[in-house]
Amino acid sequence: MKKITVVKLALVVLITIGIGDMIFEYGTYDDIHNTIVSTLCLSCIKLDPVSRLDFVFETGNGEAHPEFVLQNLTKGPLFIEYRSDVCKACDDMAPIIKDIFKLKFEKEDTLYKMVNYSGTKINFYHLNLDHASQIQKDSFPIYDKDQIKGVPMFVVITVKYDRGIIKPCYTAAYGTLGLDTDEERREMIINLIEDGIKLYEQNHEGYQYP
């Protein structure tokens, strides 16, 4: 057998071992599946979802609201910012969110903080899906209202009256919100938060943590 053929065969074997190792040892297969294939890449399609800011009861995937949300709703409405490590729109929106809530954090951080927004307490979450806990990651499809599967996603969770019961409800906005300027984006996020606060103030007395 020629020397070059042996080298080629050795190369194929080495590459096969490398791929196998990455799949079985390092979980790269699952990483690629969860973070690239199963998530709609908004920058790849060069589109932002149109955000419809109505508060709804039905969760994105039909699952129940997670425990950390139900519990924190007794303290105030929730604002959750979902993002990932590599996301241009997330980078564009981050300074706006930090400015509105007067917070400082890095993009890799998973942050929970009770913030005071114009006299109302808001549960603020900054969740990077590449670093968040499994429970936090699982909450992403629950609040993916329009089933976009893309980041950034901004969720406001509050409480609302529904046929005799006060229940958690939420709305979600995506990407750069379909707006061109930071000022417009900031205004839209503020409107979203204030709508959530208004609903919370009207209904929270009837909310009972299950």
Binding site: L11, Y29, D30, D31, I32, S43
Partner: protein
């Protein structure tokens, strides 16, 4: 069965494999995997079954956030395919190659009809244009994501073709253009013009996956060989058959060869053949 038909069957099979993620109501749930395509296809396609290797690399290097697994994984997958068959994947598997198979027929007619277009392919600087794909790969897939966060896939015409267009049709009024949308339209229009003017124009000049696969032609186990001693230099293989515009009689493991086998079929002396190392 002739080579042309075999290649068509292969391209159709790979096209369906690349689109196994398509959900068909209660009939078919759709299959998605954690593999990277070894050819050019976009995971933003509503029916995609794997990831775009370029995007994985871009995420791996984005703003010097080195994630070696996301860089190595697609490189190893492409390396595996490359060592075995070189750029054969471009000729036998790539869905964009299948698309260009259709547009290539128009390109051939235009080339015959308009001498100016024919002359474009004969320009002395034409071979240098082929280096653009290497520059695109190193510049837009590796360098700009590291340095300024701009990624090739932000303006990729294939993403526009198989992602943006079907998603816009399937979800009318649900999406709005982002900041790269209009640049992507221009790139897409240029891409369409190119592939209608030059046969396999995308593969020749711009495909970054082609740039990754091309060097493997030098060491791949399969190659196209010409028996130069018996060649009568009729140039039918180079002028009429080869979609990549290669000087077939003088080629030796040419990085541009996509092993489509058109030259093998066209050769009147039957002195061109596939060879396994």
């Amino acid at each position: 069965m002739n080579l042309r038909f075999k290649r068509l069957i292969s391209q159709i099979i790979f096209f369906f494999s690349a689109n196994l993620g398509l959900k068909l109501g209660g009939i078919f749930p759709g299959v998605t995997t954690g593999f990277c395509y070894p050819f050019f296809y976009c995971h933003a396609c509503p029916s995609a079954s794997a990831a775009c290797p370029l995007r994985s690399i871009e995420i791996g290097v984005y703003r010097s956030n080195w994630n070696w697994r996301l860089i190595l994984y697609p490189v190893l997958i492409i390396g595996f395919v490359g060592v075995i068959s070189g750029r054969a994947v471009c000729g036998w598997a790539c869905p964009i190659g299948l698309f260009q198979r259709v547009t290539g027929k128009v390109a051939k007619k235009i080339k015959k009809k308009y001498p100016a277009v024919r002359k474009l392919g004969q320009l002395r600087i034409e071979p240098f244009f082929r280096y653009v794909k290497y520059i695109a790969f190193i510049g837009l897939v590796v360098a700009t994501p590291i340095l300024i966060g701009f990624m090739f896939t932000d303006v990729c015409p294939i993403g526009y073709l198989v992602g943006t267009i079907p998603i816009s049709i399937l979800n009318p009024g649900e999406f709005t253009p982002n900041e790269f949308f209009y640049i992507a339209i221009i790139v897409f229009v240029l891409f369409i013009i190119l592939i209608f003017l030059v046969e396999r124009g995308w593969c020749r000049y711009f495909c970054p996956i082609g740039a990754m696969l091309a060097p493997f032609n030098k060491i791949s186990m399969y190659q196209v060989v010409v028996n130069k001693d018996e060649c009568i230099h009729c140039n039918i293989c180079a002028n009429d058959a080869c979609p990549m515009g290669i000087d077939v009689p003088n080629m030796d493991r040419d990085p541009e060869c996509i092993l489509c086998g058109k030259c093998i079929e066209a050769c009147p002396k039957k002195i061109i053949s596939f060879k396994r190392a």
